[in-house]
Amino acid sequence: MQTEAVQWSYQDLDLLLGQEEWQAADQVTLALMLAATHREAEGWLDEGAIARIPCEVLNQLDQHWMRYSNGRFGFTAQQQIYRQRCGKEAFAFSREVEWTVARFRLFGFFKFYNFLNFSLDAPQGHLPALWFWHLPWYRSWRMGGIGTGRGAAFGDAHLFDALMLRLERCQSL
C-alpha cells in the first residue's frame, strides 16, 4: 500500500469509481477508512476501529460505491445480502458473494485478493473488500492462512460482522 505519503480524498474515489477502476477504488477506500480511524500506522482495521469508524465516513463511502456501481457494490448492498440471504452469517455471506474459492465448506477458504473479480460482472456485494483482506500476519496464521492477509484462510469473518453491526447502528442514528 502506498498510503503513507498520499492523502486520499473522496474526489480521488469519485474519479476512480467513475472510470470503473474498481480495484484502485477499493484501495483508496481502505486508505480513507484507515485515515478515519487513525490506523494508518497499523495498516489494517480491527473490530474496535470498525465499531467506531465515523458514521459519516461509512455513509460517504457507501454512497459513492452504490452510485457508481448502480447498487451492485457498497456496504448497503452487502448488508442486504447479509441480512436477507445469509441469516446474518458472515461466512455464508462470503460464500454468497464469491469471496471464497468454492461454495463447499471443504474448499471454503478465502481467495487471494488479486483473484477477486474487479468488474461489474462480479456478484452483487463483491466489493469493497480490501479492508477485509488486510490482516496482520498473526491473524492470518491463526486462521490457517499463510501470513499474507486473508487469502487462503478459513473462517474468522468476525470483522465483517463488526462492520455490519456498525452500519446498522449508524442507520438507527
Partner: protein, 514 residues
Amino acid sequence: MTQAYPGAAVGAIVGATDAIAKVVVQWVDAALDVHDRDGEVRLLGDRLQKLGMLPAARITYLKETADTQHCLGLQVTITEPEQIRVCLRLLYDRLLESPLECRLQILLRAVRLQLQTRNGEDLLVLPNAIETLLPARQIFQARAEAYALQGGEHSPVEKTNLELLRYRLNLPQEEADYLISRALGPYLDRQAKLRKYREVLTAELDRGNPLSEATWAELRTLYQSLGLTPADASAIDEENITRFQLDTTQVQAPEPKEPGENSGGASELPPTAPMAPPPPLPPLPDYSDRYRQEFAEAIAHTLYPSEFDRGRLEQARRLWELAPDSVQVMEQDITAERYGPIDSAQGVDYRRLRQLLWSGQWEMADQETERLLLTALSPDMGPLDSETLVQLPCLDLHTLDALWRRYSQDRFGFKAQYLVYCQVQQRADEFLQTVAWQQGISIANVNVLTRRKAYRDLQFDLAAPVGHLPSWRWGCEALEQEYAVSEGLVDALFAHVEKCMPDLSPPPPSPLAA
C-alpha cells in the same frame, strides 16, 4: 364541473336530487404534510358528523387516487341552507384554532364561490352572499328555524325581520305562516315550552331521583329541540330539584354549560332569557377526575387505545372544556402509573421500548435498549466502554431497569443482573456464565474453558435464565459470531448500579453461590 377537483370523481357524488349546493374544503397550506392534512380533513369531517345535522353520506372525502389513505379535502352536499352556515361556522372555528391556508369552494348550481385563506374572519362575509343565491322558501325556513332555536319563540324584532325577509323574497303570506309554524313546532311560544319542560322534568323526578345520566341526556335533547337555552333549563332543573329537597351532588352534570358545538349556528348569539330571572349558575364542576377515569378505562387493557376510544376521549375533552396540554399531562401520568414511568434526565424517549416490552417483543426491546443507550451516551453510536457507561444518569438507569423488571416479573433488568452478580460473589466471569451469556467449564472455581455464544443464540423469552436480558450488546463491537462482554464492563456497570441504587446493598453471600 366537479371534474376540476382532484379526486372529486372518486368519492361518487351523492346523487341526491334535493341537493342545493356543495361545499368543498381543501387544505393547501405548504407547511402541511400528507398526514397533517389528512388529520385536518378528518377532524372537520368528524365535527360535522357530530352535529348530527348531516347524514354520513353527505360528507365525501376527496383523495388523490382511490387507494390512498390520505384525504386532500372533503365535500359536503348541502340540502338545507342552514347547513352552509354550519359548515362555515365549523371551518371558522377550526381556522381560529389553527390558521392554515385552506381553499373553500361553494358550488350553487352554476355559480361557484371560491375563497383561499388562512384567516377565519374572511369566511364571515360568505353567508350573506350565499343567501341571495338560494331558493326563497328555503332561506325563509332556515331563518325562521334559526330564530326559533333562540329562546324558543319569535321575539317582536325577529318577527319584523321575518316579515321584511318575506317581502324581500317575495314569498306569499300563507306560505310564510306555514313555515313559521313549522319552525316553532307544537308549542307555540316560549312560556308553553318552558311549561312543557317543567312538566316533563317533574314527571321524571317523580319516577325516581336522582335521575340517571341517560335521562339527563334525553332532557338535554328535549330542551334543545324545544329551542330553550341551557340557562333556562338549568334554572328549571335547580328549582325542581331543590323542591325535591334531595341530595343532588351525585347527579352528574345537570348541564350547566353552553353545549358550544351542539347548537351549531345558534350559539353565535347570546342566549335571550327575558322571562325567567336567570338564577346563579352552578359552578363549573371539575371534569379532570372524570376524564382521568375515562382515560384509565380506555388504557386498562391496552397501551394503544382504539380509534374509537381516542375519538370518544377527544369528544369528552372538548365537551368538558379541558385544555389539550393539561389532558396530555394527565394521560402521561396515568399511562406511567399503569405501564411504568419513562422519565429521562437526557430527554430520551422510552415510549417505544415500553411498547415493545408490553407486547413481549423481547429481541426488539433488546435492540431498542441498545439504541437508546447509544443515542444517550455515544454521539456517533460507537459501542460503550466503562468510562462512557458511568455517565448514564441514575434516573435513566432506573427507568430502563423498571421497565424491564415490570414486564418480566423481576426476571430481567439491571437489578436482576446485579442480584445474580452478588450471588456469585461479584465475580465477573461467573456472572457471565450464570446469566448464560457464556458457557464454560471451571475447575475449583477457576475458569479453564469458556465458549461464547452468538448473539442470535441468546434466549429471547421469559423462560430465559434470570438476568439473561437485557443483553449488553451496546458494549460489543461485533455480535453475530460471538457476543462477548468484557469483564471490565461487568464490574463498571455494577459499580454504577450500586451507586444509583444505594438501597440495593449486596445481600450476604447466599448458600446458592457456594
